[in-house]
Every structure is written in C-alpha cells, then in structure tokens.
C-alpha cells in the first residue's frame, strides 16, 4: 500500500508549486557548491572545478525535469495546463466561443429537458420505501379497477402481500376535483380517497402530525384527512397549527391530522393529490344518488373504481404472488357473484387476479401515449445531433484557422497525440461550459414542456424533475460524447498536415476535405430541421382541421357553472327547487342572453333505446342521456334540425318526450323523420318507458372531432324525476368576459343559498380539452422545430463565414483579376445553396417518412400535405438565406489590396 501513500504525496505536490521549485533550485545550488568546494580542495583550478561539478550532475535543467516527472502527477498537470491553454484560446476568440457555447447550451439543454420528462414519466422509481416490492393488482381485462366490496374481501382474506392499499379518485360532479374552503376562500384541488393502510403500505410518514391509519377508515370514525405539502404551505404557511384544524371539502368538514412529504404524489405519475381522505369518509359525506337513499351509498355499489396495490413480502416473487392470487380471485368471485341484492354484481365480480410490478408507479393513459414519447425522443436526438454538428463545424473552421500554429508546434517537436489531446481538451472545455448553460435551459425547458402537456384548465402536470445520479450521468455522458465524437475528427484533421505546405502558405491540403465535411454536416442539419418542420406542420394542420370541424355548438361567450348544494342529500325535492331558483336567478342577470340547466342521470351508464320496426324487427342503440331545460340548444347555439326544442309545457306530468342527436336519429329511424314517433327506453334497472320524439338536433362533439359523434338523447329536466343526482350544471350565454360573468354568477348563486358552491368554466374548455393532446403535440413540435431551425441557422452561418474567411486571399486574387462583387457573392452563396438544397431534398423525404410514424395522430391531412412541406421548405430557405447572406456580403466587400496582403 506504499504506492497509495506515494500517490497522495504526489497529489499534494500539485499545490505550492512555486515553493517546491525554489526548494529544488536551492538543493541543486547547494549540491553544486558542495561539489565545487570539494573539487577546489582537491586542487582543481576554479573554472575546471566548476565545469566538472556541472558535468557530473548531468545538467541542471535535465535533473530538474526528471525530478519534476517524479514530483506531482504529470498527466494531470498537462491536463490542467491544456485546460488553461484552452481557456486562453477560447477567451481570445469570443465570437467562436459564444456561438459554440450557445449552440451546445441549446442542444444539451433541450435534450436534458426532454430526457428528464421522459425519465420522470417512465424510469424514475417512486419516492416510497422499496418501490420494487410494489405490485398493482389487476383483474381480468378490466385492469386495476375493483369495487369496494371486492377490496374489503381482498384486504381481509389475502395473505400474499405484507401490506395492501387501495385508492380511489373522486368521480364526483367536479370531475375528480375537490372544492376545499377555509376562512380565506375556496379553491379546487385534486384529492384521493385512500384506505387506512395507504401510507403505511407505501412506507411514507407524515412530515407533520400523523398519516391516516386503519382506525380512520372505519364506518362512523371521525372524518379526518391528510393534506399535501403544497396545500399546507399555501393555506397555513407551513405552520404546525394546521393540525387539528377543520377544512371544508365539498362542503363537509374534515379535521387535518397530518401533512404528507413534499415529494409524495401517490403512485400515479403526473398526479397532484393535495388531500387524502379515508375511503369510508366517502360513505359519510358523498352526495349519493337519491334513489338509493342513505342505506346504499356508492361504496356498496358494484361500480369498480378502486385501484389496489400490494407490497410483496421479502423474497416472494411475482410468479408466486400470482399463484396465490389465482386462489384468492376464485374465492372472492364466488362470494360476490352469489350476492342477490343487485343483478350487476354478476358482472362486477372479478375474473382472475394478477400482479404487475410497478416500481415506477403508474401513469394515466394519456401520458402512456407512445406517439408523444416517440416525438419527444426523436426531438431530443435531433437537437443533440444538430448541436453537436454545429460544434463539429465550428471546430473544423477553427482548426483551419490554426493550421500555422499547429504546424509550428509540430515543427518544434510536439507529438501529434499531444496536439490532439490539446484540441480535445478544448472541445471538452467548450462542452462543459455549454452543458452548464444548457442545464439552466433544461430547467426552464422541462417546465415549458410540462406546461404544454398539461390540460389548460386543470391542474398542471407535476413530475419529479430534480436531479438524481442517473439523470446526472445522462447529462455528463451526452456532454462528453458530444465533445469527443465531434471534436475528434477536427482534431485529427487539424494535426494531419504537412509542415511543408503550411510553411509555403499553400491553400490546398486539409482544407478541401474540411469543406466537404462541413458541407455534409450542414446538409444533415438542414435535412433534420426540414423533417421536423414538416412533421410540426402536419401536426399543426391536424389541429387546425380538428378546430375547423363544426362541433355543433358555439362556445364563444358561454360559461358553464356546476353547482354543488350540500342540502341535496336530505331532500331531492328541495334540490329541484334550488335548481330552478338558480336558473331563474341566472336568467334575470343583465347581459345574459340565454341560460339553461342540465342534469345528468345518476348512473353514467348507457341507456338502451329500442324502436319497433316492421314485421316484429327492432332497431336498438345504446345512448347517453342528458336532462336539459328549455333554451339549452338556444344557449349552445346548436341547430334544431327538425321538430322543436323543449318548452315549459314539457313538465313532470305531461307525456315523456325526447330530442335525439342527428346521428342517433339516423341509427334508430333511418331516413324517416322521427318527429312524432316513439321509442322505448330501458335504463338497465328494469324501467321501461315509451318516449315520444319531439325534435332532432345537430350532433354535439364532446370528444375529439375525429372520434365521431356520441349517440345522445335529451330529455326535459322537468321529467327526470328521481333519476338525477346533484343540482347539476348551467350554461349561460352572456356578454362580457369569463371572469366577470363567473363573478356575477357566483354572487347570484349566493342570493339563492350561501351554501351553494359554484364552479365556473368557459364552455370553450370543452373544445380545447377535446383536442388537448393534438394541441400539445403541435405546440411542442412547432416550438421545437423552430428551435432546431435556429440551431441549423447557427450552423449555416458558421460554415459560410468560415468559408468566406478562409478564402479571403482567393477572393482578393479573383477580384484583382477582374471578378466583380456579384461574382464573389454568387460563388460563396452558390456552394452553400447547393448544400442546403441537398439537405432540404433529404429532409422532405425524411419528413414524409416520419409522418408514417405519427400517422395515427394525423387527421384531415395527408402525409404529403403540400402546405406543410411548402412551409417547411420556404422557412428553411429563408433561415439558410439569412444565415449565408450576412457573411457572404461581408466577404464581397473585401478590398482586393487588403485581401492580398492577408496573412
């Protein structure tokens, strides 16, 4: 182990270099003096004594150099020396440095930003204890969805896992959002109903107070909740007296018992739950469908909305757990399918269970979208390649400028390897500076990406983007790969020169090869940019086509308001009364041109509509049912194609009537006008009505327009009887902006009953939500392809200005021989034009090929859409034109006399 000590000593020798040098000189000096004195004593004449001492030592400098080799770490020292030299060189040409650093910063920044998002989505493990032990419990084809009864049986009978948990998003009237209110006002947050063992199974403990425990998740327990860190900070300023406070959630009081850690977001990637309540609390507080009454709340419903996660016992494999689940699944099936209280248990009973590892958590369907991940990955790769291409180009240009310096150093005896190392050190230094700047861009870029991926109205997507070793390793790897791969060729090229030719100021040798390489890199950059621009154009045109599609209504100026009234649980009659009062209050507001009220069926299942045909045949269609008030279609501006809208004469006591959507009318009645005809409605609970059709309206697009219309039929809200739950929603067409209208609506609602919680959204959100995915992709692709175009512009600019600078002398000669400025200009631009055109040609081909990859996303536009291609080509020509024009113009203005004196 002696050598370890020796290395440490040598490492220490790197410091205090000056003192050590002085000491070495002093030692040499004393050695010589001692020797000379000895010689003098031996009787030599002074001059000879001196010479003999010097000769015997073998040269002071040689000795010192050998000594230095032993001292310190020569490899490291030369590296540091190279680094210092590199820093000096980079400072000396700030233009080159700035352009390369900018280019690298953009490239590395974009790549890291994209990678960190993909990493967070797919590769990062959950911030919980031993995430590799967690498995999702799936059943049959349904996936990880279970009924509450099933969960209870599962929890009590399983002995496969060391712990199990269940969670449930709240599918209430507010679309999974809780409205929480404290003294300062109300706001929407995402929340979860969780089982008592939720936190303990995940191994997450509270940062303040305690987590939920199984005693909280009991029927009749005090309603308590755990809040998220963000909510804690926002409502209580991270103060400890948040504990024990009551918070109103959808109008019901919960006592805060703890705060979850800041990094905790459950097991679903991208989700932002800020409040956690026991599953059983739902039994106490949720607004239940009136028809069930308090004895049958939704927890006892066969609806399968819960997700179950188990923690494997140490040493138990997934296969072994699956074997146990087979047995357990059969047991639970027989227990549930024999229940006679509801016919739907038969369907809801689980098929077979299986476990699926989920160390990285689950992500919702839209984030699992392969198209988007693919798009992001391709973009990351392209950004990096183009940025590296720029670096390579700039280094090539620089190597050409430094030929005489390099030739001199070679002539002075530097080895080629030594010079290559020096040049590589420079590109590494550049990359490191670029990467450092890129990390700032990455931080900002990944936030921008999240913004683009989030739903505009809803919660922003939250992903864990902080640094961890794997992410850092990725950033370092791409930085070094960039520097070494793209720095090596220029370095080898630069040092492969004949000293003779340089000394003779020859214009040939290495430079032509460099120019070919430059041209290749530029063409590749242009091709990639064009391919991306074409794809972005296609995505943008898809979005345009989707938005241009007539959605069957006009959302401009319409506000939807969802009302929650806590009194409704107790009295359905009162609920209708409050609902009618609200509608009247909204209608009477000044500036409101029309207002309507709509309620949904308490069960979001399809109704079966049956129309008797000739000769005993039947036509059937499943259809969604909406209860709407008169003026509904007036407010939405949905054209009534035949018959009439509902009116006040359609009441609870008049015969049942319905309005059909055009598509449904076609399915049920064919070409015959259905007005005045009847159909039978079967709601799946054994209720069967004969309903008369009074009108047909245009199809309203609730989904992405390309998905086609949903079969919908409308009934008057006055005829919904006990089938509706909740007060429902309102649509108000009013003059004035959204915020202003929303405020006035809230004020009006408060005059009806101050306990009413109103949630307003612009109706246009329905449109933007339906094309959200398309907009996200179009936005990301467009922003990114412009960004890549900018990088390519830097590349073209760099190469043209380099070519112009390198050929200054040639230009001078040509001009002296009679070429005019136009000739020079054409000569310089001509070469670049050829390169760019080759790039564009390849780019268009690649773009069309890439369109095949995203074909599933494209709609209403052909992969060879001339608009998209034309735009991409035009933009690229413009970018390249500007980038090449500036340096070419500078070269054109060169004075022949100056140019000939050049060098």
């Amino acid at each position: 182990m002696r050598w370890v000590r020796a290395w440490f000593m040598r490492l220490g020798d790197l410091f205090g270099r000056r003192r050590r040098e002085q000491e070495l000189s002093a030692e040499m000096e004393s050695h010589l003096q001692l020797h000379i004195e000895d010689n003098l004593r031996a009787g030599m004449p002074p001059a000879q004594a001196r010479r003999e001492a010097f000769t015997k030592l073998g040269g002071i400098e040689q000795t010192k150099e050998a000594y230095r080799q032993q001292r310190g770490l020569p490899m490291l020292e030369t590296f540091l020396q190279d680094l210092r030299f590199a820093a000096r060189m980079l400072r000396k040409s700030p233009g080159f440095t700035a352009v390369s650093v900018l280019s690298l910063a953009l490239g590395i920044g974009a790549t890291v930003a994209i990678f960190s998002v993909i990493y967070a989505l797919a590769l990062r493990t959950l911030p919980v204890e031993q995430p590799e032990q967690l498995v999702e419990v799936e059943q049959g084809s349904r996936g990880n969805l279970h009924s509450y009864a099933e969960w209870k049986l599962f929890r009590d009978r399983q002995n496969i896992f060391s712990a199990v948990l269940a969670y449930n998003y709240s599918y209430n009237d507010f679309g999974g959002q809780f409205i929480i209110a404290d003294s300062k006002g109300q706001q929407d947050v995402t929340g979860l109903y969780v089982s008592g063992g939720y936190f303990s199974t995940l191994g997450v403990s509270a940062v303040l107070g305690r987590v939920l425990q199984s005693s909280d998740d009991q029927s009749g327990a005090t309603p308590v909740c755990v809040i998220g860190y963000k909510l804690w900070r926002q409502l209580y300023g991270q103060s400890a007296d948040a504990l024990g406070r009551a918070i109103r959630v959808n109008g019901n009081e919960f006592v805060i018992v703890g705060v979850a850690p800041a990094s905790f977001f459950g097991v679903e990637i991208g989700a932002t739950p800020e409040i956690f309540m026991p599953l059983e609390a739902e039994r106490t507080y949720r607004d239940y469908p009136q028809r069930y009454g308090p004895q049958m709340p939704s927890l006892d419903d066969p609806a399968t909305t819960l997700s179950i996660v188990g923690r494997l016992k140490p040493g138990v494999s997934v296969a072994k757990a699956n074997a146990g689940l087979q047995v357990l699944g059969a047991e639970i099936y027989s227990a549930l399918s024999s229940r006679s209280d509801d016919s739907r248990w038969q369907r809801a009973a689980p098929g077979s269970f299986s476990a699926r590892p989920m160390p990285n958590g689950t992500s919702n369907e839209w984030l699992q979208d392969m198209d988007i991940v693919l798009l992001l990955l391709v973009m990351a790769a392209v950004a990096l390649i183009i940025a590296c291409g720029n670096l390579g180009n700039l280094l090539l240009a620089r190597a050409a400028k430094r030929r005489s310096e390099i030739a001199t150093r070679l002539a002075l005896g530097a080895s080629r390897w030594r010079l290559v190392r020096q040049l590589l050190t420079e590109s590494v230094a550049l990359s490191i500076i670029g990467a450092a700047a890129g990390l700032l861009i990455a931080r900002w870029g990944s936030q921008a990406l999240l913004w683009a991926l989030s739903f505009p109205g809803g919660d922003p997507l939250r992903l864990e983007l902080s640094w961890d070793p794997k992410l850092a390793a990725f950033a370092i790897t791409i930085t070094l790969a960039c520097a070494l791969l793209f720095g090596l060729a220029p370095a080898l090229g630069a040092t492969d020169i004949s000293i003779y030719s340089v000394m003779h100021n020859s214009l040939t040798s290495g430079t032509r090869r460099n120019r070919t390489m430059n041209g290749f890199l530029v063409a590749a950059q242009v091709a990639l940019s064009v391919a991306l621009l074409v794809s972005a154009g296609l995505l943008a045109r898809t979005l345009q086509a989707l938005l241009a599609q007539d959605a069957g209504y006009d959302p401009k100026g319409v506000v939807t308001a969802h009302a929650n009234w806590p009194g409704g649980r107790k009295n359905a009659q009162r609920e209708v009364f409050v609902g009618e009062q609200l509608l009247a209050a909204f209608r009477s507001l000044s500036g409101v041109t029309s207002a309507s009220w709509s309620r949904r069926h308490s069960k979001a299942t399809l109704s079966q509509l049956v129309v008797p045909g000739p000769a005993g045949s039947e036509r059937r269609s499943g259809s969604y049912l909406h209860f709407v008030s008169p003026d509904f279609f007036e407010t939405w501006k949905t054209p009534v194609l035949a018959g009439r809208e509902f009116s006040d004469t359609d009441s609870g006591t008049s015969p049942p009537v319905a309005i059909l959507s055009a598509d449904l009318a076609r399915v049920l009645f064919g070409k015959v006008s259905p007005v005045g005809l009847r159909f039978r409605e079967n709601d799946g609970d054994g209720h069967d009505y004969a309903v008369e059709v009074v009108g047909v309206v245009r199809d309203i697009q609730f989904r992405r327009p390309s998905d086609g219309p949903l079969p919908i039929f409308y009934r008057p809200v006055s005829q919904c009887g006990s089938s509706c739950s909740g007060v429902g929603g309102y649509e108000i067409r009013a003059a004035g902006g959204f915020a202003e209208t929303a405020k006035r609506l809230e004020e009006a609602a408060a005059t009806v009953d101050p306990r009413i919680i109103l949630k307003c959204t612009p109706l246009s959100n329905l449109v933007s939500d339906s094309v959200h995915r398309d907009r996200a992709m179009a936005l990301i692709a467009t922003a990114f392809s412009l960004f890549v175009g900018l990088l390519a512009m830097i590349g073209v600019y760099g190469v043209t200005s380099h070519a112009a600078a390198e050929r200054t002398r040639e230009i001078g000669i040509r001009m002296a021989l009679g070429a005019d400025r136009g000739d020079v200009f054409r000569m310089l631009l001509g070469e670049m034009t050829r390169t760019v055109c080759i790039g564009i040609a390849f780019g268009v081909g690649a773009g069309i090929a890439a369109a095949q990859l995203i074909r599933g996303t494209l709609w209403g536009v052909k992969p060879t859409d001339p608009m998209s291609i034309g735009f991409a080509v035009g933009l690229m020509l413009l970018i390249a034109g500007i980038a090449a024009f500036l340096p070419a113009r500078r070269a054109m203005r060169v004075d022949p006399m100056v140019a000939l004196r050049y060098e």
Binding site: A6, L34, L57, G58, Y67, Q70
Partner: protein
Amino acid sequence: MGDKTSEKKDVWQGTLALMVLKTLQAMGALHGYGIARRIEQTSGDLLAVNYGTLYPALLKLEQEGYISSEWGVSDNNRKAKYYKLTRAGRKQLNKEEREWEQTTAILARFLTPGEEQS
C-alpha cells in the same frame, strides 16, 4: 515520453534505492551530494553516469515514506538538504537486504554449479 529509457531507469532505480537506504543507515543524515559521493566511492564507477539521477530517486523514497528530509548546515557552513532514514525505511532496508541476499544466493548456485554436484 521515452518508453525504453524508463524501463532501464526503473531497474537502475531499484538498486539505487537500496544503495541510498544502505548509505543512510551507515552514515546517518546526509545531503544529496554526500550520498552521491559515498555511493560512488563504495561502488567504483557505477554511479559515474550522473549525480542528477539520484534526486528523483530520493524524492520517490521520500514520497514512499522511507526517508525524510530537512534543511541543515554542512561542515563547511553550506546550507543543504539532509536526508535520513525513517522507521519504515529501516524496516524496508532489512527486507530488501534479505531479498537481495536470497536472490544472490540463488544466482550464486546457478553460476557456480560445480560445487553443488560433487
């Protein structure tokens, strides 16, 4: 950086190190010039190459902790850097001496086979 010379130097430095340690054991603290002279005297013309080669070897020994150095004043009032053996150096010297004796003993048997056979 010349590969061939370094190999040769290593061999030379191996024995040189032993000589330095032995010299210091025999003479006590001594400066570089003194060590060089002493080795030259004892070994004839072996160190006739250069006194300079001694210094990297001294540095290496010091880095390994076998010797330590200190500035002092020579008999004739010259400032000089004095080297002396450390405890680890003494141990190392014993070890190397033993190894050297073994090696030479083995070599001796090879080089003078006659005595062994008879």
